[in-house]
């Protein structure tokens, strides 16, 4: 898929919508970063900062009824797909007001009513689940599609190839969205990922590589993939080259005990390529929106973040008896 099928868009409205969504993710995560640093959040927190264009550029095309599966780094996908900031924040705070009632936490934020099948703590765990949902969608014949988001590290799990094979054979309405942020935990991708990930996919389906920090490029690649999926032409692979600005996990400095796995200069370079700043510059340059409008968005997001954090903090702790009722539908464990 080198030539675009779909040359219109994104429209100004779509661009602004994506700007807003990316900023929401960024600000929510900055808050999570701070609350994690002060020890307010239990468990592991993996931030998406720097990769927002990937989730947003794809989800901009999705309906609420479409499915997505995500990774341990799943806040961005959750919010991009329309998940509620409050419900997510409360989940990460382990509250019963959380979207998973405090049972799942950061690595498992899910909202089935929004088609969000969940973040997943198993690297590669979402791929086959998405294929199953895509199969269901295909059988239903109602135009629903599924997207699995996964990392460069996950592309080394065999389930990636297995799922591509089934998706191709069965022409599943499925998009493989690989966010190559160049690291698997603390290991540079090139040390553990041979060749080009897109070449693995090319044996099965159209595959395209885009700048993952350019939301317009992601949006366009996704437009074609979604179009293929909806029109019954089968799966598409997209690799978005991007970078994770924060550590693998917020506890990273402690875990590394002084060890280093990447250059500060590299981080700085990529920080300059911030997808949100880039879109903002584009919006101003093209006069799509005046600075004041963008500042308004910023302000409204500030309010959402503050509200979400307050809601999360105020929530009642999770119900310790609940687990017994959740192992089976209709029966106590």
């Amino acid at each position: 898929m080198t030539t675009r099928r779909n040359n219109s868009g994104p429209t100004d409205g779509q661009l602004l919508g994506m700007y807003e969504r990316m900023l929401l993710i960024r600000r929510i995560e900055e808050r999570l970063r701070d609350d994690s640093a002060t020890g307010k959040l239990p468990g592991a927190v993996h931030l998406y900062i720097g990769q927002e264009a990937c989730g947003v550029g794809v989800c901009a095309h999705l309906e609420e009824t479409d499915w997505v599966t995500s990774t341990h780094r799943g806040h961005g996908h959750f919010l991009a797909k329309g998940g509620e900031p409050k419900a997510m924040m409360a989940e990460i705070w382990a509250k019963r007001t959380g979207v998973c009632k405090g049972m799942g936490g950061s690595m498992h934020v899910a909202d089935l009513s929004k088609g969000i099948l969940g973040a997943n703590g198993i690297v590669g765990g979402g791929l086959a689940i998405a294929a199953g949902a895509a199969f269901a969608a295909k059988l239903d014949g109602n135009g629903r599609i599924a997207v699995c988001f996964f990392g460069d590290g996950a592309s080394n799990q065999g389930v990636f190839m297995e799922t591509m094979n089934v998706a191709t054979l069965w022409r599943l309405p499925l998009i493989f969205m690989c966010e190559n942020n160049q690291f698997s935990e603390f290991t540079p991708s090139k040390e553990v990922t041979a060749g080009e990930i897109a070449d693995r996919a090319r044996a099965f389906m159209p595959a395209t590589v885009v700048d993952g920090n350019d939301v317009i490029a992601v949006w366009r690649a996704a437009a074609d993939a979604v179009d293929r999926a909806r029109s019954g032409e089968g799966p598409t692979f997209i690799e978005a080259k991007t970078y994770r600005i924060r550590g693998h996990i917020e506890a990273e400095p402690m875990m590394l005990g002084g060890g280093k796995y990447r250059d500060d200069v590299e981080i700085q370079e990529w920080t300059k390529k911030c997808p949100i700043a880039r879109l903002r510059a584009h919006l101003l340059e093209t006069r799509t929106a005046p600075a004041a409008a963008l500042d308004d968005i910023e302000a409204s997001i500030h309010g959402i973040v503050t509200d979400a954090a307050a809601y999360a903090e105020a929530g009642e702790p999770a119900d310790p008896e609940l687990g017994f009722d959740l192992m089976f539908a209709g029966a106590r464990a």
Partner: protein
């Protein structure tokens, strides 16, 4: 009532449930040609949307079952031999058994997995495992071990209609065994043991295919004047603890027969439950007749050395009573 083969009962259950609910789908390796017999005729009747051969990729199949179930289908996944559970184990243990809890109960996972288990056919170690203990420990998964055609039908129909993952364990190579199967919409509820034989001297709990051997052992023992009460739990998750406790309260003795390797077996679990909850009723040690902690060898003579049989079961009862 009509006499049916075990495999036929399974086939009937699949037909009936697929007819009953268009959301029931079935996939797996070579299910179309139905080499195990259990899926025979389904393709012709229901078509490839609902019955479908898959590539060999158990890790993806178990994951897809989760996804398709979460998206509203009732999925039947045929895994052929139970050793292939291991190949697809990640999505079983990390997803199927946990996703409902992790999402705070947002989804149901109506998934039925079929697979053949057990030794005795010289298929060697990689085609002879009895891995239900592993599934029992993982949590979130119903484990069904029908010992006869009627239960096979009733439990399978129940599983397909149910809203939770269930593993339906077929005793491999025993599909030809005949039994009376009730006509019509026969369902067997989970967690309800069957008392296959009443007796006052000793309780024998036998699982799956072992029931047959336990019945033979009970016959042998009856000739020696020992009256065995034979309990078939039928499902291991949930386990009908109450039925076993009641029986032990009556007999005072317990022998558990299980085709799994001993360590952390279903037999050990049942023994542990009774040693806790019915200790006061026990008049002697709880004996387990299980497979030693050895992988199944190829040679039939070596397999026989490991597998429970009517004699070893009868001996265990005698030992339990003598102690």
């Amino acid at each position: 009532m009509a006499k049916k083969r075990y495999i036929q009962a399974i086939n009937d259950a699949l037909f009936e449930e697929m007819e009953r609910d268009p959301k029931v789908i079935l996939f797996g390796e070579d299910v179309e040609l139905a080499i195990m017999g259990d899926t025979r005729g389904l393709l012709a009747k229901f078509g490839r949307d609902r019955i479908r051969n898959t590539p060999i990729c158990e890790a993806t199949l178990t994951g897809m079952a989760v996804g398709a179930a979460a998206a509203g289908y009732r999925v039947i996944l045929h895994l052929m031999f139970s050793n292939f559970i291991y190949t697809g184990f990640d999505a079983i243990a990390n997803q199927m058994g946990k996703l409902r809890l992790m999402t705070g109960g947002q989804l149901k996972l109506p998934i039925t997995v079929l697979c053949g288990y057990g030794g005795g056919r010289s298929t060697a170690a990689q085609h002879s495992d009895t891995p239900y203990p592993v599934l029992m420990n993982v949590g979130g998964i119903h484990v069904l071990t029908p010992s006869n055609a009627a239960d096979a039908k009733g439990l399978l129909k129940q599983a397909i209609r149910g809203d939770n993952p269930s593993f339906f364990m077929e005793a491999s190579g025993r599909g030809g065994e005949m039994a009376e199967v009730p006509d019509g919409d026969h369902l067997v509820p989970f967690g309800s043991a069957a008392i296959l034989r009443e007796g006052k001297d000793a309780t024998v709990v036998a699982i799956g295919h072992m029931v047959k051997f336990a019945l033979e052992a009970a016959d042998q023992l009856a000739k020696q004047g020992v009256a065995v009460e034979l309990v078939d739990p039928r499902t291991l998750v949930p386990l009908d603890e109450a039925a076993i406790i009641r029986s032990v309260q009556k007999t005072g003795h317990l022998v558990v027969v299980d085709e799994a390797r001993d360590r952390c077996s279903a037999a050990s679990q049942i023994a542990a439950v009774i040693a806790d909850k019915a200790f006061g009723a026990l008049k002697g040690p709880i004996k387990r007749v299980t497979v030693p902690n050895v992988a199944m060898p190829y040679a039939a003579i070596a397999e026989r050395r490991l597998l429970p049989n009517p004699t070893s079961i009868a001996e265990a009862v005698t030992t339990a009573l003598a102690a």
